[in-house]
């Protein structure tokens, strides 16, 4: 049996099939690789945009100070100066955007203050901490401490309570 390729004809068909397959692959590759791939590295350049496009949930302190400069003044005078607003008040980007639409919530002192100031063995020794139950005797922290300037103490309810509070050992500097 003759033929152009002699007895290799079937192998040529296989080779042609392979070549066609590779061609199809190359065409598909050219068509389907996403736009912007490889511009900055082996990734889609648009991914940088995607990562930047998340909505903000926290406004950042600077945004709060714009309207609440008075609170800022009080904060600067006291020990809570370095603490940013949203550390206690939660994410407030919506509120900063439109104060009437996103209401800011006043956190519950009983839960909030203890989260940082309940004494703990693993907390740095120099950090102000106390056994809240003994120290406060069930009272809310803000009945004696102003949240924004915690050491400027309001007059306690009775002298006895003041003595009781002072009797519980407190750790940390700044007393």
């Amino acid at each position: 049996m003759g033929g152009f390729f002699g007895h290799k004809g079937h192998l040529v068909r296989v080779a042609a099939l392979f070549a066609a397959g590779i061609l199809v692959f190359l065409v598909l590759q050219a068509l389907l690789v996403p736009k912007g791939f490889g511009v900055y590295g082996h990734y889609r350049a648009g991914a940088l945009d995607d990562n930047r496009a998340r909505p903000l949930m926290h406004a950042g302190r600077a945004a709060c100070v714009d309207c609440h400069a008075d609170v800022w003044e009080v904060l600067q005078k006291g020990k809570h100066g370095p603490v940013h607003c949203e550390a206690c008040h939660g994410p407030l980007a919506r509120h900063a955007e439109d104060p009437s639409a996103g209401k800011a919530v006043k956190p519950d002192p009983k839960l909030l203050c203890a989260r940082c100031h309940q004494e703990g063995v693993a907390r740095p020794a120099k950090f102000p901490q106390v056994d809240v139950a003994g120290h406060a005797g069930g009272e809310s922290c803000t009945s004696c401490h102003k949240a924004h300037d915690p050491l400027e103490q309001a007059a306690p309810a009775t002298p006895e309570k003041k003595d009781a509070a002072a009797a519980v050992p407190q750790k940390g500097a700044g007393q």
């Binding site: 950042g60 939660g90 703990g120």
Partner: protein, 257 residues
């Protein structure tokens, strides 16, 4: 010089210039076609090289960072998915090889007291997060290019491209990656890229009450991180892995994993 030679030189000069300009135009067109990320308001990624400094001696384990991150980045609230978490170490005297470590819900609700004072051990908190490694093993193993290091040093994920093969989760020595069960793609700390590219700080740094976490821009000569790195004894986690971690810890004890 003969006319022929002058003509040829002119031709070569002209075509060389033409090719150069075409090439440059081609590159510029690529940048344009890819969505112009450089044009985000005044933010040029090549001006920045982001890092994070963490001062273990200041961390009080309040969990603000964990909560803020989950809010800011819409992380699933179940206890298996964390972009950042806090660990509590309790190191019995003289036994740095066998510390007791816990991280109840990643520190999201703080840490209930477990230890007594005066038991001879030392205890402290260590915040953990993606280390945004300069030679990241997670980037190396991604089969398709769905995770990468941005030009400004942040390791990011392309959620529309990720296959969910989980190879990068296996390759990260720090355990900072997870699969978001809702999108079935990988997720991890993005250094609040959407915030830092707008001049804000990360959600975790914003809410840290003691300044234990500090975002730093290594390319900004005025950034306080330079001073911090110079004046403190800093370490990275698992230095033997040579990942080029850019999360620098001050006060890292030998027992920290």
């Amino acid at each position: 010089m003969s006319d022929d030679q002058t003509g040829r030189r002119e031709f070569l000069a002209r075509s060389g210039t033409f090719l150069l300009l075409t090439g440059a135009a081609g590159i510029a067109w690529d940048a344009v076609a890819s969505g112009e990320p450089e044009k985000a308001p005044n933010y040029r990624s090549t001006d920045h090289w982001w890092a994070m400094a963490i001062d273990v001696e200041k961390c009080i384990g309040c969990g603000n960072c964990v909560r803020a991150c989950k809010e800011e980045n819409d992380v699933p609230r179940e206890p298996f998915y964390f972009r950042t978490w806090v660990e509590r170490y309790h190191v019995p005297e003289g036994d740095i090889e066998r510390p007791e470590v816990d991280s109840p819900n990643g520190g999201y609700d703080g840490f209930p007291e477990k230890y007594r004072a005066g038991d001879g051990a030392k205890s402290f908190f260590v915040p953990k997060m993606c280390n945004h490694c300069a030679h990241s093993p997670c980037v190396q193993v991604c089969p398709v290019g769905a995770t990468f290091e941005s030009p400004d040093g942040v390791v990011l994920v392309d959620k529309t491209y990720c296959l969910g093969c989980r190879y990068c989760v296996q390759a990260c020595p720090y355990g900072c990656r997870f699969i978001d069960p809702r999108t079935k793609t990988v997720d991890k700390c993005s250094l609040c890229y959407h915030r830092i590219s707008k001049g804000l700080t990360t959600a975790c740094c914003e809410t840290c009450p003691t300044g234990a976490r500090m975002l730093g821009d290594l390319k900004d000569l005025k950034d306080p991180i330079h001073d911090f790195l110079r004046t403190h004894k800093v370490q990275v986690l698992k230095p033997q892995m040579a990942t080029g971690s850019k999360t620098y810890y001050n006060g890292l004890d030998g027992s920290v994993r």
